[in-house]
């Protein structure tokens, strides 16, 4: 009974489908299929002609646009000579390419605008052979176009542009914040950049100083760079944003305005499309970028950076309007508990370190045992798990593991300071004995100062509590507004304990251990800071800079760190930063270890 009914229904269906197929224009493909039916107990196979089901409506597609967040506040500049902050440098890295480029994961040096290079016998001079045929480009309001010169010829990036850009960075009149990196390393820069009585020099004298700078275009595609010493990080520096090609014709016409949208010219995998100040910045794939092994042609057509506060950016992410966002610290617990968000969460290392410095001339921290006691007494694991909560790594020393030359926890598990209440008490006892104190109340008061911020305050209070619990020492915790604070810790009245952080400029131990704590560094200035000078330390970091053998070099930095955080205990390392990010599952991305992302290596799964 049932089967008959089915036959009728099937028959009717066939008629309808044939009618439909007859009407439909254009005729959809007809497909012959075999239908197995059971007619009154017998299995009958019939051939049925049906039309193919019309294609389901095309799957909804995403725009090939990546939305990421930059944090609040306008991007300060897109001028490679002037950039000092992460956002500026991130965009500069995408709209221009250095002579060499660092692989974002392995941190290996790869060819960038230079196809290859030779090193002179004395190890100080690099001769770069540049790629030919890479044009300067600009966004003309509707498309990326090549920049033409006055005669209508395409302007290609040449060695002269690199020479011009590098010399512009170190021109004293440019006032570049990062020129000092070249000053420390490149030949001839110091005399020019720090020239005395600059205003009184004649034009010839100025030109002479400029010509002395160790960068020279030998021809259109050959560039020579001369460094002060043979050093492992020289190549790193040649690839930094302070040594990029810059459009001389544009800068001479527009002055500081040249990097603004509408004028901006670049030559990287992306080009600047739009910059709504304080709101968004958009870069668009540059079709004239040829695509090389280290810097492929972009897959994602546009990247839009939003200048949003962390909570605002995270709300956009949750609303589905942003592909990558940082997680505000208040939301970290919720994200970890959420089944979807926890899958999208990645806590990755960041090239920054958080530390306290001791004023080694101020009582009671003018005594090494006291400093060690305070350092041992900080339970770093407890701090990152219960106070900062961002998955930070407890630091036993300063140099961020992962940077070339920095020791790692695998190679040097026992290096530096391992938090330990027992050892803290031992060191305190040694201090009391040395000073002849019978009771902790006799110890002069420890002042701890940080710059005004809720996060720093929480950390300072937690550490104060640890010192109180373990050692019975109750420090006075004070804070000052940022720039007032910087002035204080670089003056004669440095408090006993102060805090600072450091983020990499280039991923090398030289940028950490030496540039921060050798005399004259950011944490150990001529006046204030640590008020510390250790000749052995100075010598080791000087030698390590030029040590060619990587294993030996790492060991040298390990030795320097041991002096810094244990033997002299001038610095109290606290933790290494991490980036707490969420990424939508349809983004194929790389995770960068050097602070900026290379979006040309990312892609989106466009089908929804």
């Amino acid at each position: 009974m049932y089967s008959k009914k089915w036959t009728v229904i099937l028959g009717a269906l066939m008629v309808v489908s044939m009618l439909l197929s007859a009407c439909a224009t254009p005729t959809p493909e007809e497909v012959i299929i075999e239908v197995t039916k059971i007619v009154e107990g017998e299995t009958v196979v019939e051939q049925v002609v049906v039309t193919a089901t019309p294609e389901p409506p095309a799957a909804e597609m995403r725009d090939n646009v990546l939305h990421v967040s930059f944090g609040p506040g306008d991007v300060p500049t897109l001028d490679p000579s002037l950039g000092t902050d992460t956002s500026s440098i991130q965009v500069v890295e995408e709209i221009t390419v250095g002579l060499v480029r660092l692989h974002e994961e392995t941190l290996a040096i790869e060819p960038g605008m230079a196809e290859s290079w030779d090193l002179s016998d004395d190890g100080k001079t690099y001769t770069f052979h540049l790629r030919e045929g890479i044009p300067w480009v600009r966004w003309n309001g509707s498309a990326v176009e090549e920049v033409l010169d006055a005669d209508g010829n395409v302007r290609y990036v040449t060695a002269h542009d690199f020479e011009y850009g590098t010399k512009r960075t170190v021109n004293p009149e440019t006032g570049s914040g990062y020129a000092y990196v070249l000053g420390m390393t490149m030949a001839g820069v110091e005399d020019y950049l720090y020239a005395e009585n600059w205003d009184e020099l004649s034009d010839e004298e100025k030109a002479e100083l400029r010509d002395g700078v160790g960068v020279k275009a030998l021809d259109d595609y050959t560039l020579e760079m001369t460094f002060l010493t043979e050093a492992a990080y020289n190549l790193n520096i040649s690839g930094m944003w302070v040594a990029r090609a810059e459009p001389q014709w544009l800068i001479e016409e527009k002055g500081d305005r040249w990097s603004e949208p509408g004028f901006n010219q670049g030559y990287g995998p992306y080009a600047l499309k739009e910059w709504v100040h304080d709101s968004t910045m958009t870069i668009v794939a540059n079709p004239f970028w040829p695509g090389i092994e280290s810097v492929p042609q972009p897959v994602i057509k546009e990247v839009q950076f939003s200048m949003l506060d962390a909570s605002a950016a995270f709300a956009e992410y949750e609303a589905g309007n942003m592909e990558v966002a940082g997680v505000p610290s208040a939301d970290i617990d919720r994200v970890k508990a959420d089944p979807t968000l926890s899958e999208e969460l990645i806590i990755a290392p960041d090239g920054c370190a958080y530390y306290y410095g001791f004023n080694t001339e101020k009582a009671p921290v003018d005594n090494v045992h006291m400093r060690r006691a305070l350092s041992y007494a900080v339970d770093r694991l407890d701090l990152v798990e219960n106070v900062t909560k961002g998955g930070q790594e407890p630091a036993q020393w300063f140099c961020r593991p992962g940077m070339a030359g920095c020791p790692t926890m695998e190679t040097h598990p026992d290096l530096g300071i391992k938090s330990s209440a027992d050892k803290a008490k031992e060191e305190l006892a040694l201090y009391m004995e040395e000073m002849g104190y019978a009771d902790v109340s006799e110890i002069p008061e420890v002042q701890l100062m940080h710059n005004t911020s809720e996060g720093h305050k929480q950390i300072a209070e937690a550490i104060a509590e640890m010192w109180h619990e373990t050692l019975g020492i109750q420090p006075t915790v004070t804070n000052q507004e940022w720039k007032v604070y910087l002035k204080t810790i670089r003056s004669e009245d440095v408090p006993a304990v102060w805090r600072l952080g450091w983020c990499l400029d280039y991923p090398d131990a030289n940028n950490f251990t030496r540039e921060v704590f050798a005399k004259g560094g950011s944490g150990n200035p001529e006046v204030g800071g640590l008020n510390w000078l250790n000749e052995d330390f100075e010598q080791i970091v000087l030698d390590a800079a030029v040590e060619p053998d990587p294993v030996k070099r790492t060991q040298m930095y390990a030795d320097a760190e041991q002096i810094l955080v244990y033997e002299d205990a001038a610095v109290l390392p606290i933790y290494w930063y991490t980036m707490v990010n969420v990424t939508k599952p349809y983004v194929n991305r790389t995770y960068s270890n050097h602070g900026h992302d290379y979006y040309e290596k990312w892609s989106l799964e466009l089908e929804k």
Partner: protein
């Protein structure tokens, strides 16, 4: 009246002059400079930067240089308005000359921009948000206050004042994220952050997208978050003021001569009751139009408000001066408007 207004504007220049002097003195008295950074710059580089911006000159000279650029019109041959010395008022004169007036100088922290750029691109956004927020505040606040006063000690009064107390005690910093969470993230009706208009603007502040839903949907949440807070203040003030006026003799007279209750309230009571309300509306407007730090931060609006804070933390001297003077200008102008409104509300007030 005309004379009075002219007088007030002449006074304004004096006031702005004094404010500029005090601000200049105060910002240079604070320790730390624009180039004090975490990564300490070598003193030579700081010296170069300071020379570039004339910060190496004695203070009195820096101040005079500043006043000269802002207040004195300059005529020169060079007519490239895209350069960094561009001015708020730039007029081409015959003979290839170019007149520049009101040049607030460069920004130290955004080196490719000037303070005038910030005014041109960020201030209009704040004005847009400010006008819409104040419209919300007045539309909610005024009726609420009037109803509460007229129906004093009834359920309406109680309800109205509860709403007002809620508005006062619910700051934007709490209300904003809640609104974003409900309408932006969960219901997805409104964009959580951002602004639906970008430069250039018509007549300095009118967005070119004013006719589109995209503009308005970005304004709803922030305008509501700001508006309710201010509406509460307006409602409470209106209520208190109206209650006082209603017991005045002239209201009794109006009733005694047989005017309808509606005429008594609108023409006599409310009009007089508005004087204190208008008094606070002036500075309120000036404050709202020149930017609101918190709401801009919460909703990611590219307005002027954050520059009042960040310019100080950055020691970006020209931006500090520009922002303070601009706010002072708005304040003075809005107070002139308040004075004019007084005369209109209360015929007894005359300035001549």
């Amino acid at each position: 009246m005309g004379r009075y207004i002219i007088q007030r504007f002449l006074w304004m220049f004096f006031v702005l002059f004094v404010i500029s002097m005090i601000t200049f003195a105060m910002m240079h008295a604070v320790p730390g400079g624009p180039f004090t950074q975490e990564k300490a710059l070598p003193p030579e580089i700081i010296a170069n930067l300071e020379k570039r911006y004339h910060l190496d000159e004695p203070y009195w000279k820096q101040y005079l240089l500043y006043i000269d650029k802002v207040m004195v019109p300059h005529i020169s041959k060079d007519a490239n308005p895209e350069m960094m010395d561009e001015a708020l008022v730039g007029i081409s004169l015959p003979g290839g000359n170019y007149l520049r007036w009101i040049n607030f100088g460069p920004s130290y922290s955004s080196r490719s921009r000037t303070v005038n750029d910030i005014f041109r691109e960020q201030l209009p956004v704040s004005i847009q948000l400010g006008i819409i927020s104040m419209a919300v505040a007045i539309t909610i606040g005024l009726p609420l206050g009037v109803i509460s006063a007229l129906k004093q000690n009834t359920i309406w009064d109680f309800l109205g004042m509860s709403v007002a107390i809620f508005g006062v005690s619910m700051p934007v910093v709490a209300m904003g994220p809640i609104l974003i969470w409900i309408f932006g993230v969960t219901l997805k009706w409104l964009p959580p952050t951002g602004w639906g208009a970008k430069p250039p603007f018509t007549l300095f502040f009118i967005p070119n997208t004013i006719g589109s839903w995209d503009f308005w949907k970005h304004t709803l949440m922030p305008a509501f978050a700001v508006g309710t807070g201010y509406s509460a203040i307006i409602a409470r003030l209106t209520r208190a003021s109206l209650l006082q006026v209603i017991h005045e003799d002239y209201i009794r007279t109006a009733r005694a001569k047989g005017l309808s209750e509606r005429v008594v309230t609108t023409r006599h009571a409310l009009r007089n009751a508005l004087i204190p309300v208008v008094t606070i509306l002036g500075p309120m407007f000036a404050g709202v139009l020149t930017g609101l730090f918190v709401v801009e931060q919460v909703f990611g609006i590219p307005g002027m408000g954050k520059y009042f804070i960040t310019s100080i933390t950055n020691r970006d001297y020209p931006v500090i001066m520009g922002a303070v003077l601009m706010y002072a200008f708005f304040l003075v102008v809005s107070n002139v408007f308040v004075d004019i409104t007084y005369a209109w509300l209360d015929p007894r007030i005359r300035y001549d």
